[in-house]
C-alpha cells in the first residue's frame, strides 16, 4: 500500500512561495494500476518525485508498505563517464542484488552489444533509453512509477517493453503519468486528473478524459 494523505508541496522561488500541490490524497493498493493525467506544469513530475521519495512533501504524510521503483526508464541517474555495465553494477549494489545474474538479461534486453562496456556519454538517446529500461527491469518492485515511458525506442522495442512490464509484471501496482489516452485506458484500472494542485479521482477512465479534455479546452 502507498498512501498519500493531504500532501502539499511548495517551492521557494524568487517570486516567493509557489504552491504546486495542495491536499493530494491517493491510495494505491497492491496490484492496482492508476493513470495520472495533467497538462504541462500541473505538477505531475512533482507528484512522481514525492512518491519515489526524491523529495519530501511540505506538509501531509506519505507512507509506503510496498517497495517503489524509481521513475521507469529514467536515465537521469546515469553517470556519463561510466559504462552501461558500471551503471548497472551501481544500481544492483544500491538495491543489494547480485549483479552477475543481471548482466545477461540486461545485455539481451537493451540490445547494446559491445556498447554496454562503453561510457554512457557515447550513447545515443535511444540507446540510453533502452539501457534505462533494461536496468529498471533488473530490480523487482511491488509498485512501478511510469513517467511518460511510452516514448522509448522504436515500435518493436516498445512492444518488448510492454511485454516485460504489463505481461510479466502484471501483478504489480503501477502509477502511470501520461498524456496518452489510449495508453492509460489500455493499462489502468482508474485515473486521476491533476489540476491546479488538486488531484481529482475518477473510477471511469473515460470520464476522467472528458474532464481532462474540458480543462484543456477551457485553457486552464
Amino acid at each position: 500500500m502507498i498512501c498519500l494523505e493531504n500532501v502539499a508541496k511548495d517551492y521557494e522561488t524568487r517570486r516567493g512561495r509557489v504552491n504546486i500541490l495542495s491536499g493530494v490524497n491517493l491510495t494505491i493498493a497492491p496490484g492496482e494500476k492508476i493513470g495520472i493525467l495533467g497538462s504541462n506544469g500541473a505538477g505531475k513530475s512533482t507528484l512522481i518525485k514525492l512518491i519515489s521519495g526524491a523529495e519530501s512533501p511540505s506538509s501531509g504524510r506519505i507512507s509506503r508498505s510496498m517497495t517503489t521503483s524509481w521513475p521507469l526508464a529514467f536515465s537521469g541517474g546515469f553517470q556519463g563517464a561510466l559504462t552501461g555495465l558500471d551503471n548497472l553494477r551501481f544500481i544492483c549494489r544500491i538495491y543489494g542484488v547480485p549483479t552477475e545474474d543481471k548482466i545477461a538479461p540486461v545485455e539481451e534486453f537493451a540490445e547494446l552489444g559491445a556498447y554496454l562496456r562503453e561510457p554512457v556519454r557515447t550513447y545515443s538517446s535511444g540507446m540510453r533509453a533502452r539501457l534505462a529500461f533494461a536496468i529498471s527491469m533488473a530490480i523487482e518492485f511491488d509498485c512501478f512509477l511510469i513517467d511518460e515511458v511510452v516514448a522509448v525506442g522504436d515500435s518493436r522495442f516498445r512492444e518488448k517493453c510492454e511485454e516485460e512490464l504489463f505481461k510479466k509484471r502484471g501483478d504489480r501496482a503501477m502509477i502511470i503519468v501520461s498524456h496518452n489516452a489510449t495508453y492509460v485506458k489500455k493499462h489502468c484500472d482508474r485515473a486521476a486528473v491533476l489540476d491546479k494542485g488538486i488531484l481529482h479521482h475518477f473510477n471511469d477512465i473515460n470520464i476522467a478524459y472528458q474532464y481532462y479534455n474540458s480543462l484543456m479546452r477551457s485553457g486552464s
Binding site: 519515489s52 526524491a54 508498505s65 517497495t67 529514467f74 561510466l82 551501481f90 549494489r93 544500491i94 523487482e140
Partner: protein
C-alpha cells in the same frame, strides 16, 4: 515476492544501517570509477595526487628554507603540516555542490543526501590518509625522518581531525544548498586558514598571547598533537585535546541538523 518485501520506514536500526552501508559503498565505488577511471594508474591517483601536493610543498619549503621556528627538519615539518591541510581543506570542496549533479540518484528510495556526502568524505579522507602514510614510510625508509615516537597519538589526532574535516565538509555542503554564498566564501576562507592552521608554524614560537589565540583554531590543536606523536621529545607541543573533540562534536551535530534541513527543502531545476 519475498525479495521485494524489504522496505518500510519502520524497519529495525540494524537493517537501516546495513542498507546505508550498502548505499555508501555503491556511491563510493561509483565516485572512484568516475573520478579516476580505469586508465593509466586508475584509482592510485586517489593518494598519488595528494602525495604530489605534499611533495611539492615539501620541496618548496626546503628550497626556500622556510622559517618555522622549531628545530625539526623541514621535511618532517612539511609532511606533518601539509598532510593535515589536505584533510580539512579537500573534504569541504568535494561536498560543496555535491547534491545538484547527483539529485537524480535520490529517486532511488535508499539513497539519502547524507550518503552522498559521506561517500565523498570517505574517499577524500582515505586519499589524504594513504598519502600521509605512504610518504611517512618513504621518508623514514630513506632516513630523512625518524620513526614516529607514538603512533597511537598520531592515529588519535589524525582520526579526530578527519572527523572534524568530514563534519565541516558536510556542514558546508548542506549550507551551500541554502545559499551558494558558502561556495564563494569557502575558497578565500580555506586559503586564509591554510597559514593559520598550524601547518606552517609551530605554536611554541608564538608569543604567549598569540599562542592562546592560535589554539582557538581547531586544526592547530590537531597538527600540534600529530607533531607531538611524531617527534615527542624534540618538539614542544601545545594543544587542548578536549577542546578539539568538543568542537568536532558541535560541528558534527550542526552538520547533521543542516543536512536534514537541506534534504527536506531540496528541489530540482
Amino acid at each position: 515476492m519475498t525479495e521485494r518485501r524489504i522496505e518500510t520506514k519502520e524497519f529495525p536500526l540494524a537493517n537501516s544501517l546495513r542498507i546505508q552501508g550498502r548505499v555508501i559503498g555503491a556511491l563510493f565505488l561509483r565516485e572512484v570509477i568516475t573520478r579516476y577511471g580505469r586508465h593509466n594508474i586508475g584509482f592510485l591517483w586517489l593518494f598519488v595526487e595528494p602525495m604530489l601536493f605534499t611533495l611539492g610543498v615539501t620541496a618548496l619549503w626546503t628550497a626556500l628554507k622556510a622559517y618555522h621556528g622549531s628545530s625539526l627538519p623541514i621535511v618532517a615539518f612539511a609532511l606533518t603540516g601539509y598532510s593535515t591541510v589536505l584533510l580539512w581543506r579537500n573534504m569541504p570542496s568535494r561536498c560543496i555542490g555535491a547534491i545538484v549533479p547527483n539529485f537524480s540518484l535520490l529517486h532511488h528510495r535508499y539513497v539519502k543526501v547524507i550518503d552522498i556526502f559521506i561517500s565523498r568524505v570517505l574517499l577524500e579522507g582515505m586519499g589524504a590518509t594513504m598519502s600521509f602514510v605512504v610518504l611517512s614510510i618513504f621518508f623514514i625508509a630513506i632516513g630523512w625522518i625518524n620513526l614516529p615516537e607514538d603512533v597511537f597519538k598520531i592515529a588519535v589526532a589524525w582520526t579526530v581531525l578527519s572527523v572534524f574535516g568530514a563534519a565541516l565538509a558536510i556542514l558546508l555542503g548542506a549550507l551551500n544548498e541554502k545559499s551558494e554564498l558558502v561556495d564563494k566564501f569557502w575558497h578565500p576562507m580555506s586559503y586564509i586558514l591554510f597559514p593559520l592552521s598550524g601547518a606552517a608554524f609551530s605554536v611554541d614560537v608564538l608569543p604567549p598571547g598569540a599562542q592562546e589565540i592560535a589554539l582557538w583554531i581547531p586544526m592547530v590543536n590537531a597538527v600540534e598533537m600529530v607533531r607531538e606523536g611524531y617527534f615527542g621529545s624534540q618538539y614542544r607541543a601545545h594543544y587542548d585535546f578536549p577542546y578539539l573533540v568538543i568542537i568536532t562534536l558541535i560541528v558534527a551535530l550542526l552538520a547533521l541538523i543542516f543536512t536534514r534541513i537541506a534534504a527536506r527543502d531540496l528541489k530540482q531545476e
